[in-house]
């Protein structure tokens, strides 16, 4: 009896410790979210703000080709960047896990090093590389590959490079952490039993690193849906993404309700894709995430 009572109070006390966290989440996450959904159902105000007048017009308006194309453009850029990040990041993380512990630490430092500088400043660095007569141009001309400056900046590929650069570390670290935990003896066993290198990889390594890969995908795909400043800076403001359109609607367009509706749809879209991932992969465990 006594011990049970003790257990209860212990449990009660620790539950109390969680209250601030839940309150913070409620007030700072759920609150604004609900407010945004509410805002998306309002009519826009004369000058600024909104009028308390429930309507679905904002969502209807989003069906116009202009907005649909913008969602499509964002999705396309996010999918393309994520696919390229997988191609680069997966092998990187995989081989990094096979290094000696000294080298692992060194590699980790090298990956984290760029984060010590603001991402905006690092993007401006890419401008120096890409611009006419910039570093890359001069290198190519020096090597005799090209004979006149290329026009690399403010193009779609420049934006994709920027996206990959910004998000690659998240993929590498996610894959690394799951490859690192893997029992490599399983691969040895498979090889001993006659499996080819490829077979061992597809039947042992890939399934075991899947949680890392999936969380890497989520960590890169979701931000890439919203990262519009890369497209603005390296794409010369020419590629319209959902993020930049929301910003435009909010500031110059002064249309808060439509902007909220757009944000709600964007969130619904990302959540649906997440759900789909889980459904397809049948994993509820995501490395380092859930």
């Amino acid at each position: 009896m006594k011990s049970e009572k003790q257990k209860k109070t212990k449990y009660g006390a620790s539950a109390l410790l969680l209250v601030p966290m839940y309150l913070t989440a409620l007030v700072l996450v759920l609150g604004p979210l609900l407010y945004m959904v509410y805002l998306s159902l309002m009519s826009r105000g004369e000058v600024w703000g909104f009028i308390n007048d429930v309507t679905l017009d904002n969502y209807v308006q989003l069906m116009e080709p202009l907005y649909l194309n913008t969602f499509f453009a964002s999705l396309k850029l996010a999918l393309l960047s994520t696919a390229l990040i997988i191609l680069l990041g997966y092998p990187f993380g995989y081989f990094m896990a096979r290094l000696s512990s000294d080298w692992k630490r060194r590699m980790m430092l090298l990956i984290m090093l760029p984060f010590w500088t603001s991402s905006l400043i690092r993007l401006y660095g890419w401008i120096i590389v890409f611009r006419s007569n910039g570093t890359l141009d001069q290198l190519l001309m020096f090597l005799g590959v090209t004979d006149s400056p290329l026009r690399l900046l403010y193009t779609y590929p420049a934006v994709v490079v920027g996206m990959i650069y910004a998000l690659l570390p998240f993929m590498i670290l996610a894959v690394y952490s799951s490859a690192e935990k893997m029992d490599w003896r399983l691969v040895d066993a498979a090889r001993d039993l006659g499996a080819s290198r490829l077979k061992a990889f597809t039947s042992i390594t890939l399934p075991l690193t899947m949680p890392g890969l999936l969380s890497g995908i989520i960590l890169t795909f979701i931000p890439s849906m919203g990262l519009f400043f890369i497209a603005d800076i390296l794409g010369g403001n020419k590629i319209v993404l959902v993020g930049s359109m929301i910003q435009d609607l909010m500031t110059r367009g002064r249309n808060l309700p439509l902007e909220a509706a757009m944000a709600v749809v964007l969130m619904a879209m990302t959540s649906a894709l997440l759900w789909l991932y889980r459904k397809i992969s049948r994993t509820s465990k995501l490395e380092g995430l859930v």
Binding site: V47, G236, D248
Partner: protein, 352 residues
């Protein structure tokens, strides 16, 4: 060991945060303060320093990137927090309509008569009750003749196929759509949605020439030869012209669009007296001349004109002909929405 390191790291981070907040406290004693809220780079530091030294009032200076961000901030603070704002004409009309601006007490500004009447009595403040003009701008085309291969004479020349992927534009859609309307012989301020949409169609044909759209540092693209021609704000025109001798200005023959910046005091400004004092100080001829030489916008202070150096005179004092330009004004919501839509379609076309 690890734990100590982590703890130390946390401490450093928290200290960093605190350092960021603590800027306001622990200063030497001052008579009062003045919270300025303007575009970046409105005043040379020496003018601010001299005002502080002369009056003992401490200036806190913050900037905004867009007029809309400024209005949002004023909305948020209900016209409080800031003592003096300098922004563009059309947004001031909105701010006044929303009751976020207080009337000026002209008796407190002895230098008021120095202002150039040319820039006063405008649509945003017809009776000059709320504002003092502080610089006028005329977006113009600047080009590099060696790269364009021809001389530009008007907005219509921007559509010339010779400029393919070679044009930089500012990102203000009322201005860009406005000059498109001008090439069609329409007013920049038309409310007619059909006309705005027609301009949108014409604008899409410009997309293949556009290399970059940027509101800030647009002159850099021209200076670094990233583009052959740029349509940009007055201060950027001046920066470009002073950095390279081989660039040329085109005063478009279709007519000029101009904008006026003006200073106003928000309705709940905590230090409105200091703001009046600052306005009085700024409009002394010598001080104003110094400011406009730094700012690079057309001088709105008549008395200051004789103090402007010869080298800068032509860039800062408006010739008589320019006054016939059109100012972009607020139009109906349908019109504004049509402009926003046209602009987004144009940008999407540029990205293809």
């Amino acid at each position: 060991m690890k734990k100590t390191m982590a703890l130390l790291l946390c401490l450093v981070m928290v200290l960093g945060l605190l350092a960021g907040c603590g800027g306001g406290s622990g200063e030497e004693e001052t008579v009062g303060e003045l919270n300025l809220f303007t575009w970046d780079g409105m005043f040379p530091q020496e003018v601010l320093d001299e005002f502080e030294a002369e009056t003992g009032i401490r200036i806190y200076y913050s900037n905004f990137d867009t007029d809309e961000a400024m209005l949002a901030k004023l909305e948020e603070t209900q016209g409080g927090d800031y003592d003096l704002v300098i922004a563009d004409d059309y947004i001031i009309e909105l701010a006044i309509a929303e009751g976020l601006v207080q009337k000026l007490d002209k008796a407190k500004i002895s230098t008021y008569d120095n202002l150039n009447p040319l820039y006063m009595g405008q649509f945003y403040d017809p009776a000059d009750e709320y504002t003092i003009p502080w610089g006028a701008g005329i977006p113009l085309i600047v080009y590099n003749p060696a790269l364009t291969g021809f001389d530009l004479t008007g907005y219509a020349d921007l559509w010339n196929p010779a400029l393919e992927d070679n044009l930089a534009l500012i990102g203000n859609y009322r201005v860009i759509n406005g000059i498109t309307l001008k090439t069609m012989g329409e007013s920049m301020n038309t409310d007619d949605v059909a006309k705005i949409e027609a301009a949108g169609e014409k604008l899409k044909e410009l997309a293949s020439n556009v290399r970059v759209i940027s509101d800030s540092n647009t002159q850099d693209f021209l200076i670094s030869e990233e583009v052959a021609a740029a349509f940009m704000y007055t201060s950027q025109v001046n920066l470009a012209m002073t950095s390279r001798d081989d660039l040329k200005i085109c005063y478009p023959k279709e007519g000029l669009g101009f904008g006026i910046m003006a200073a106003f005091i928000p309705s709940q400004a905590p230090n409105s007296d200091a703001a009046h004092l600052f306005l009085e100080y700024l409009n002394q001829p010598e001080v104003a001349a110094k400011c406009f030489e730094y700012l690079g916008y057309y001088c709105t202070n008549k008395a200051a004109e004789e103090h402007i150096s010869e080298a800068m005179y032509d860039l800062l004092v408006v010739p008589e002909t320019v006054t016939e330009g059109e100012i972009i004004q607020n139009i109906s919501q349908e019109g504004e929405d049509a402009h926003a839509k046209v602009w987004n379609e144009f940008k999407a076309a540029c990205g293809q």
